[in-house]
Structure formats: C-alpha cells, structure tokens
C-alpha cells in the first residue's frame, strides 16, 4: 500500500472545464456537490483506503524568518499571486493507478448545471520510511 495526497487548489491549478465560481451555483448545486464529496469520503472509509481529509480556508499568509530578534515577516498584500490550497485528502491505496482513478472520481464532483466540474487535482505520493531491505 502506498499513501497519496490529493491537493485541491483555490488558485494555482489549471482552470477546470466547468469553471464557474461556487457562489454562482444554485443552492441545490452546492448541496449536490457537498453530498458527492461526503459520499466519496464515506466510500473510501468503508474500503479501508481513507487516511485523512480537511478543507482549508481561502485566507492564509506566507511567513518568513527575518533575522535574529525580529518578528517573522508575513507577506500581507501579495496574496493574489500565490498558489492556494483549498483542501486535501490522503488515501492509502494498492497502486498509483488506483490513486489516479480515485482522483479522477473526485474531480468529477458535480458543479454548475449539475455537470462535473472537471477540476485539476494534484496527486503526490508520500515519501515513506526506507524499507528493511535496501540493497
């Protein structure tokens, strides 16, 4: 089994095919979308492939060390230039193929007009502990 991180972006990923901001959807469309995501997570829990998942607020900061005795620097007004992660899910699956299949399913969540949003999800394998056998 190998763990994969699915990253969902507010910004920074290529635009989805059905790319309509969520505040333009109907309440029913939002409802359907949320239910799809919940059902997806529940199914992964039942299949024993779910590890973790969280959504993140759109507002965040870049922070940097600014030298001895000085407060850390935050990026303040430049937020619009950055890649913004909207949330993640971690799965533990048998193969990369399975990870891709699941990410594809997640990307097919319904959006505006009830059609799949076709958004891009980033899929990244975890680095693991070294196996017992290395040579």
């Amino acid at each position: 089994m190998a763990k994969y991180l699915f990253l969902k972006h507010y910004r920074g990923a290529p635009a989805g095919v059905n790319d309509v901001p969520m505040d333009r959807w109907t309440p029913e469309e939002i409802e359907a979308h949320v239910r799809y995501m919940d059902d997806f997570a529940t199914r992964l829990q039942e299949s024993g492939e779910y590890v973790d998942g969280q959504a993140l607020a759109p507002e965040g900061m870049w922070v940097r060390y600014d030298g001895e005795g000085r407060p850390p620097v935050t990026d303040g007004p430049f937020a619009e230039t950055k890649d913004l992660v909207a949330g993640w899910m971690v799965v533990d699956v048998d193969s990369e193929q399975r990870a891709v299949e699941l990410a594809g399913e997640l990307s097919a969540a319904p959006g505006a007009g009830g059609r799949p949003i076709h958004e891009w999800l980033e899929v990244r394998p975890f680095l693991t502990a070294p196996p017992t056998v290395t040579e």
């Binding site: 089994m1 024993g48 533990d92 048998d94 394998p125 502990a129 070294p130 017992t132 056998v133 040579e135």
Partner: protein, 393 residues
C-alpha cells in the same frame, strides 16, 4: 510495549504479550473445528485477547490457552445470540460435526493459507495475517502502517468478508503466504510492533509447519538482512553497504541464517528466496565491499535470472558485475535494464562514479534523488550528488 516485553503494572504480575499472541492461531483453529466460521472466530478471539490483556495482570490464569478458548467461545455465543439471524446461525453450530483428532499445527497452517487467500489484495492479506496468525490488535496493525484504526478495522473486516465461507479447507498456497510475510518484513516498522521481528517469528513458525525449502529460504533471507539492520540506517541516515560498520552486524543471526540456508540448499530445490539469501550470505560473510566474492554474487544473480527474469534482478546483477568485472562491464549490463526500473538511475550514478565519470555521476545522483521513494533515500542521494559537486570537475 514491544513484543516479548512484559507489561509491568503496580497491581499485579506481568502479562507476556508475545506468549499470549502465540496462542491466537491455536484458539482460532479450535473454534474453527467447533464449526465457527473464520470471521466470527477471529472476532471472538480478538475480544478475548483484549479481555486477557485487561484481566490477567491481576488475575493470571493457570492455563492461558484454556482461558482464552473459553472466553472466546463465550464471546462467540454472545455474538451469535445477539444476531438477528440467530436461529439460523445456532442451527449451523449445532449441525457441525464433532471436532475430530486434528493436530494444532494443521490449524495454524490452514490459518496462514486462508489469510493469504488469492482473492485478497496484498494489503488485505498482510492485515489479516498480522491479526489472525500474529495476534496483533487492530490498533497495533494500524499504527505499524500509519493509518487510522478505523481504516484498518475496515480493511480487516472487508478481508474477512472476502474469505467468508472459505472455511479452513480451501486456501492459497505456501508461495503466496511467503510473499505476504516478505511484504510484512520489508515494511520496516513503526508503532509498538516491530514488523521485521514479527515477520521473522511468523516465518519461523511456518517453516516448522511445512515441508517447503522456500520457507527456509525466506527465513534465512530475513535473518541475514535483519543481522545488518542496525547499521543500515544510523540516526535516520541511510548508510550504503560499503560504508556499514560490519563489526556491528549480528553474528548470531548471520550464523543462524547461513545454517538455515545451507540446510535448504542441500535439498536441491532452489527457489528465489534461497538464491537471494545466498547473495545476502555472501555480503554477510565479507570483511569489506572490496573483499566480497563478487564473482559468486554475480553467479547467484544468474541463478535468480533463470528462476525469474525480473528487471530488478538484472539491475542488481549489473551492480555486482560492476564490482566483479569493473564499472564499464557493469554499465554495459545496465544498458539492458529498461528505464523506469526503481533505483536504475541511482545504480547508473554509482557505476559512473566508480568509472571515474564524476560529472555524470553527480548529475545522475541528483536525478535519482528526485525519483526516490523514501526521505532517507532521497537525502542519501542528494548527499552523494553534493559530495561530487563539492569536489568539482
């Protein structure tokens, strides 16, 4: 708590958890002979196990196995009664034939085979084996694989549903069991159970149960690898074979591994694990990388290629040939290994360095680092690249 380490409490004597876990397959087998299906038997014994860990500190039983069997049987009856399909299930229990004169060893072997059932995915087979044969709790298995306990519980119950009805008679073959145990061994460990030790314990038990030279081959391989474990990763850093402190290899484990291997080889039924163990034995035997009998290592890789034409074996053979016949010969052999084989680029970097092409080696080490699958391996490869870049062209 580590396996074999007693649980010491203020209120009473210690519980030997390893001895307790060793009873698990026997008790599951006993319930099986009373007609309980595998999934239900496994659940009941897990309940009894958790109860034993709680109660035995203050009230240790005279006969642990009988205690565990009695409690598991009661838990099973409770579960049967509370089921909606109670009547049908009770009837099933009633009509089961009386237990016959079956040896315990047969039960344990049947459990091994069932847990490695061909319809299970490798991950499910591993989880089920660790719980039913190894006697680990779901929490321990989950910790070892760094997943939530609920996830592991689902994985195990799905696995049990998959083999439901398979009973104790139809099952996988020993070769599949060996692959499952090797997966457990290779996982390293985390949490409070050392999976490598657990795999060795279970393989040792299996090798005593079956007449299969590869069971002994795998046991030898594990012992020989395990003997070198403490020198392979030091302070989180991966140490390559050439730089390992050979004085710290566990000579008792090496001696046992070699003895087990020789006994297996003497039976003249060579298999992959025996051939891999032979390579490991040659490394374990050598005072240094340079003094290793690389010619014989290459010969064993040739045997392995005869058994399984795997690109990974070709890769390892190329590296060994680089030592036996020189780096250029190794690189020529490596050219036959397809791209995309894990660690191919790292091996290429290593052989280029040995051939004196430091620039190419540095570039290839950096490239291999990007494809590394573990943090320790990536850091190791980055250090190699940095070392060569610091020397300069």
């Amino acid at each position: 708590m580590r396996p074999g380490e007693p649980v010491v409490t203020a209120s009473g004597p210690a519980v030997d958890e390893a001895a307790l876990r060793a009873l698990v397959p026997q008790v599951i087998g006993l319930l099986g002979r009373r007609g309980v299906d595998f999934g239900a038997a496994e659940d009941a014994v897990q309940d009894a196990l958790v109860e034993a860990l709680r109660v035995w500190r203050t009230d240790p039983p005279r006969d642990p196995r009988a205690w565990l069997a009695t409690v598991a049987w009661r838990r099973h009856l409770d579960a049967v009664r509370s089921e909606s399909s109670r009547r049908r299930r009770e009837e099933t229990v009633e009509v089961e034939p009386a237990p016959g004169p079956v040896r315990e060893a047969d039960d344990t072997l049947a459990l091994y085979l069932l847990c490695a059932h061909p319809s299970l995915t490798p991950a499910s087979a591993v989880a089920l084996t660790l719980r039913a044969v190894g006697g680990l709790t779901t929490r321990q298995v989950a910790e070892a694989y760094l997943v939530p306990e609920a996830t592991m519980a689902q994985r195990i119950s799905r696995a049990k549903r998959t083999v439901a009805g398979a009973r104790f008679d139809r099952a996988g073959d020993v070769a599949t069991v060996l692959r499952v145990l090797y997966l457990v061994f290779n996982e390293g460990y985390s949490g409070d159970v050392d999976l490598a030790m657990e795999a060795i314990r279970l393989t040792r038990q299996l090798a005593a149960l079956v007449d299969h030279p590869e069971a002994h081959g795998l046991l030898a391989l594990m012992l020989l690898h395990h003997a070198r474990r403490d020198t392979r990763v030091v302070d989180g850093r991966l140490v390559p074979l050439a730089e390992q402190d050979r004085s710290r290899w566990d000579t008792a484990l090496v001696a046992e591994g070699v003895a087990v291997l020789q006994a297996a080889l003497a039976r003249d039924r060579l298999g992959e694990f025996q051939a891999q163990a032979a390579v490991a034995a040659l490394h374990a035997d050598a005072p240094s990388t340079e003094e290793t009998d690389w010619v014989q290592v290459v010969e064993w890789y040739d045997e392995l290629l005869g058994l399984t034409d795997s690109p990974v074996v070709r890769l390892n053979r190329a590296v060994a040939l680089g030592h036996a016949d020189g780096a250029r010969a190794g690189l020529a052999a490596l050219a036959q290994v397809p791209d995309g084989v894990p660690r191919r680029t790292a091996a290429e970097a290593y052989l280029h360095e040995r051939a004196g092409d430091l620039l190419d080696a540095a570039r290839l080490y950096a490239e291999a680092a990007r494809a590394a699958t573990s943090a320790a391996e990536r850091d190791h490869l980055l250090r190699q690249a940095a070392r060569l870049n610091a020397v300069g062209p």
